[in-house]
């Protein structure tokens, strides 16, 4: 098959480099601030960005991202806004891979076909849908591929024999959930995650990203020893939450954005 290499494929070509993937909730505290936050994340050294679509019932998320979702929903931010934000970021010159992180119901209501067509149309790179597990995502996988985009597959410590099944099908990278439970800052990342990553490697040719619970430079450094990419969500969203007022207020926004960037920089510095 003759096709252009995707951004994610190019990114992971050089296996010696470890990649940093931050997550933020679109619309927290406003769409405009999210736009500027993404620019700062890029400056801070992000390699890929997950744009989280706020949802009323975020089953896989802990309290930090639940609160961010609520703030974004109170701004009226929805799935189409996340897609349009992606388009705007491209127009502003952001060239790294951008992924839409969303629960499945907004995608179903938008139309699965239309969703991946728009991801392609707006020059985004793919989607992560945490409540659309392997057995339910065959159709979405096919549609994503037709549009030259990736549906990122997730594996968890409980996946066991499912690793082989899922590992074969992951486009972009394989997302390893570090530990049982929902998203959120954890004191410790279980040592077993290393084993999970090794098993995943044995079952998949895709690069491996590890997420859930990673929040400190030390944890980033540790996980980067065996993973190709480290994903950090709640710790950054918590930082955004800390500066909510300052980010909303235009006179204090820039310094707040710089503060978030500084925090993210401590994580990206830890990765290499």
């Amino acid at each position: 098959m003759n096709r252009v290499q995707t951004r994610l494929e190019s990114l992971f070509t050089d296996k010696s480099k470890k990649r940093f993937i931050p997550f933020i909730t679109v619309g927290d505290p406003s769409l405009e601030v999210t736009f500027q936050l993404v620019l700062k994340l890029v400056e801070a050294g992000a390699d890929v960005i997950e744009l989280g679509v706020p949802y009323s019932d975020p089953l896989a998320d802990g309290p930090v991202i639940q609160r961010a979702s609520k703030r974004a929903l109170s701004q009226g931010v929805q799935l189409p806004d996340a897609l349009l934000l992606g388009q705007r970021l491209r127009e502003a010159g952001v060239s790294i891979p951008l992924l839409i992180f969303t629960y499945v119901n907004p995608v179903i209501q938008y139309g699965i076909e239309r969703f991946f067509a728009d991801i392609n149309k707006f020059d985004l790179d793919g989607a992560i849908i945490p409540d659309l597990p392997f057995e339910e995502n065959e159709r979405a996988r096919g549609i994503a591929a037709q549009h030259g985009t990736d549906l990122i597959q997730l594996v968890a410590p409980t996946s066991q024999e499912r690793l082989a099944l899922i590992g074969k099908e992951s486009g972009g990278f394989l997302y390893c959930v570090s530990s049982l439970g929902v998203t959120g800052v954890r004191q410790e990342i279980p040592v077993e995650v290393r084993e999970l990553v090794e098993q995943a490697r044995a079952n998949s040719s895709a690069p491996i990203g590890v997420g859930f619970g990673i929040s400190t430079p030390e944890q980033v450094k540790e996980v980067a020893k065996y993973a190709d990419a480290v994903i950090v969500g709640s710790a950054i969203v918590q930082e955004v939450e800390k500066y909510t007022e300052e980010l909303i207020n235009e006179t204090t926004r820039n310094s707040a954005l710089e503060n978030v960037k500084k925090f993210v920089r401590t994580l990206t510095d830890a990765i290499q």
């Binding site: 089953l59 639940q66 119901n105 179903i108 938008y110 409540d131 597990p133 499912r162 899922i166």
Partner: protein, 406 residues
């Protein structure tokens, strides 16, 4: 998206689906647990010792079979069809919920789990789960919305008396939907040693199918009792539908018979307002709590809050098998308002000396509307899913002012 009714689709879901409804829309972390649960369940129901133990508990502990009772004065008063009540209110702990909780409790033990968790709205399933945990020697955590904790103070204390821990949920609207979210989140973190007892025919496969199998005893008994007492099947079945477990349990053994079946949803303050829980009447298909089913949602797929005077019907989703029964046309779904249910509750209490739960009162309100249109040759069987002791406070608030003027 109407589907052709196919009874095969109902005996057992195919790939976890009833037609296009159902499925397993959950985080990957839970998938293995769902497959394990499914195979343990299939093994258990084939195992005579499991069936025997369950039967003993249902007979000597729960008090089954529950009566199929002729509501003579109500029938006379309405002046049409003969009305029979399937008395699930006489089940131990006061509702049909125990049938399922007992069976899942036994399954949890069989799977070697020492801890169970449950979600609850009105508290009936929480009480049933706490009861089963006490009886089987398991530890029990019940997730309950703060709003419901306030509305159902007595049931909260009852669960604590039974030794369960009640975990308040403040996220979202702090009601059943959010309690279920939180129970699922907890389960994701403790999936290896915890069994999640879902209280209705909702959630990811195999729950809707499994809970139906544990509740179908309601309909099986009704069938036998109707034949024994009347020499025939009822002409129509009516039950209330929130998540819909009493209704599915009642309907299932009759879906291939030539009788009319009606499910009644909560219209709250009216289907023309935004305060209702009429999911099948006004929702559209979407995903909630791991299942594709009719759902109250906005145009973007955000789940909307439901409203009903009865906490047990206050749910924006519905069991996926009901969605299939609706689209295939096998079951008719309708709705009654808070006020109609409250009036029906009072009427049954006055005429029969039976105080029904406000959930069950929705089914009664539909019977009241219909019975007089029918001839005396017609028999309607109603699932009286629970008793109304827990609702006395709500009834007092509603009827309190009227008492003085009567």
């Amino acid at each position: 998206m109407s589907q052709v009714y196919n009874s095969e689709q109902l005996s057992k879901p195919v790939n976890g689906r009833f037609g296009e409804f159902g499925g397993r829309f959950v985080p990957e972390t839970l998938m293995n647990a769902l497959f394990r649960l499914e195979s343990s369940f299939e093994e258990a129901i084939q195992d005579e010792s499991f069936q025997r133990e369950l039967k003993e508990l249902l007979t000597f502990y729960a008090g089954r079979p529950t009566p199929f009772y002729y509501a003579e004065r109500l029938s006379e008063y309405l002046g049409g069809a003969h009305i029979y009540l399937k008395r699930e209110d006489l089940n131990h702990t006061g509702a049909h919920k125990l049938n399922n909780a007992l069976a899942q409790g036994l399954l949890a033990k069989r799977m070697g789990k020492q801890s169970i968790i449950a979600e609850t709205g009105a508290g009936q399933h929480g009480v049933a789960s706490a009861t089963v945990a006490a009886r089987l020697g398991l530890s029990c955590k019940v997730f309950m919305g703060e709003e419901d904790i306030r509305r159902q103070e007595l049931n909260v204390f009852r669960m604590k008396l039974l030794g369960a821990e009640v975990i308040p949920v403040s996220s979202g609207s702090a009601t059943l939907k959010d309690a279920t979210n939180e129970a699922i989140r907890y389960w994701v973190s403790h999936v290896e040693d915890t069994y999640y007892v879902i209280g209705s025919v909702v959630g990811p496969h195999p729950y809707p199918y499994m809970v139906r199998e544990f509740q179908k005893i309601i309909g099986e008994e009704t069938r036998e009792q109707s034949i024994a007492q009347l020499g025939k099947l009822p002409d129509e079945l009516i039950a209330c539908v929130g998540g819909g477990s009493n209704a599915i349990g009642f309907f299932h053994p009759f879906v291939n018979d030539d009788i009319k079946i009606t499910g009644v949803e909560a219209a709250g303050k009216g289907v023309h307002t935004d305060k209702h829980a009429a999911t099948l009447t006004l929702g559209r298909p979407g995903v909630i709590h791991g299942s594709m089913t009719y759902l109250l949602q906005d145009e973007y797929g955000q789940v909307q809050e439901a409203h009903s005077v009865s906490a047990g019907l206050d749910y924006p989703g519905v069991g996926p098998e009901h969605s299939y029964l609706k689209d295939s046309g096998r079951v008719e779904y309708t709705s009654v308002t808070d006020v109609e249910a409250l009036e029906a509750c009072q009427l049954l209490t006055r005429l029969e000396g039976i105080l029904p739960a406000l959930e069950s009162s929705h089914a009664l309100a539909e019977v009241i509307k219909r019975a007089k249109k029918y001839t005396k040759e017609t028999t309607i069987a109603v699932c009286l899913s629970g008793r109304g002791d827990k609702d006395v406070h709500t009834l007092q608030e509603y009827f309190g002012n009227q008492e003085d003027s009567q």
